[in-house]
Assembly symmetry: C2
Homo-oligomer: 301 residues x 2
């Protein structure tokens, strides 16, 4: 029974930090100190986001664009899987007291996914008006104006259909190692005539983690985020922490959850619950209580 | 009997190209068309260099340094393992007709290696005089002047001692997948109190590949490079292509081979030959003839 642990952004880059190697290593040290009891035995896969890191990398690509060719977004995602994988291996291996191995992970999406018709996920640096027009013309990007800050590229966020390397992840976990996989939601690829092709998009890392858990036959997914639980009426006076939800109850809650934040996490949990698995959504601070059933939100069938 | 194939720089970025994603994919397509008969069955591991890619990445880091923190070299190596691994998976999987999986690979070196006393490997962009002094002061780098082109950072190139992820590579290969590993010679790490720590250095990718072959009990290493064979008196009128060498003959040849080019390849071949393995050094163009014993240089015990 594999446990998939999805690390949120603040597990790697703390709020207000810029993402130096030393800062990321220190944040991960704290993260794995908390996770220690969960990673010392059993089948464990770690997944993680890459928001700050891919933002930094895309900015680097732009600033050097006159001298060295910028890479497409799917390769920038691959770069961050390498970067963050190496950071995680450094700090997790001594805590887990066993091998930690990062696999480059591709996630297949459908080229016909409606997400490609209307890109919504903002990514990378801000640009001025003229520059935005040039990028639209020369690279075929779509950019949207962000009030007062300039223009920013938006990319599609299609649904993950298949973790390409799932057999390898299973083999690694069976060998006793902890696998680090699906970084940044995975490198998005479409399939054509049996050949996989990288595509510029961003896959939600919690949706990809739930898919991975399902493909591995894992019954447990732990989503670590910034809040201790899922709330009803979050941010209002009548806010109420939810301790246990069925897939159906969770689905009923979706419309009131914030889109790019708690909603995809609960959607991921619903996907897994319908396949017979259980998801625990909580924060690093509340984890110990959540494991004892006194905090966090559990979603199951 | 695992076959380790070490791809040279021109297998991924052709001479005169800048390293766009499209150029790298096209070069790899040609490479794997030639390698097709070798990768369709049996246990295969692909290793590769990262010279142009890590050079590009270090330049990106510098150009954006005022806005986002530059990462240390060992993490830039990790980034290129992600980038090149994703490119290789794209082009190799359809040719090999089986799973291709890239593992982030760390290689342990000795912090006491004499290479750390005198860094010799130039890396990254050129800097002006003032900038060089600032980098020496602020980042503790060593820089050397390159006649007419400015100052360039030099880093140590220590001997590889252990492929950290070798068990995982073995498990993956046993599962039937082709593993992509040791990119750029591996992410250099030193060990202290059982904890591995990234360190700024560059490990020769052929030495790392020979070590991997030894650790895997592999008896065959194929080093692909720009020349069809090892030569005696290379570049002179009496140049002579060498077809077969014992480890001892190869060792006798070392002093006349060019340092950062053919010498480390022959050193790698000697290491493996002494452990009972065989290395074939040849070019992509001469590969078919070399496999039939009509070209290339074989080094064995």
């Amino acid at each position: 029974m594999t446990l998939v642990i999805a690390l949120g952004g603040n597990a790697i880059v703390r709020a207000g930090e810029r993402g130096t190697a030393a800062e990321q290593l220190a944040a991960l040290r704290d993260t794995f100190a908390v996770l220690a009891p969960l990673v010392r035995e059993g089948a464990v896969v770690i997944t993680h986001g890459n928001g700050p890191q891919v933002g930094n990398e895309l900015l680097r690509q732009e600033r050097a664009a006159d001298e060295v060719p910028p890479l497409p977004l799917w390769l920038a995602v691959a770069q961050t899987q390498g970067e963050i994988g190496a950071l995680i291996e450094s700090e997790l291996a001594p805590v887990a007291e066993r091998a930690v191995v990062c696999l480059l992970t591709h996630v297949r999406v459908d080229a016909g996914d409606t997400a490609f018709e209307e890109p919504t996920k903002p990514i990378g640096p801000f640009y001025g008006d003229d520059q935005a027009k040039t990028l639209e013309r020369e690279r075929g990007w779509q950019l949207v104006e962000d009030a007062g800050r300039g223009f920013r590229r938006v990319v599609p966020s299609p649904a993950p259909l298949e973790i390409v390397e799932v057999d390898a992840i299973r083999a690694l976990v069976a060998s006793g190692a902890i696998a680090v996989a699906c970084g940044g939601g995975g490198i998005p690829v479409t399939s054509r005539n049996g050949k996989l092709k990288g595509i510029d998009a961003v896959i939600d890392k919690d949706r990809a983690s739930a898919l991975l858990a399902r493909q591995l036959g894992a019954t447990r997914l732990l989503i670590l985020t910034e809040v201790p639980a899922v709330y009803r009426a979050f941010g209002t006076e009548s806010a109420e922490e939810l301790r246990e939800l069925t897939a159906e109850q969770a689905a009923g809650l979706l419309p009131e959850l914030p889109p790019g934040s708690m909603r995809p996490k609960v959607e991921a949990a619903i996907d897994l619950a319908r396949a017979g698995g259980e998801t625990l959504i909580t924060s690093m601070e509340a984890l110990t209580d959540a494991l004892a059933g006194r905090a966090g939100t559990r979603v199951s069938r």
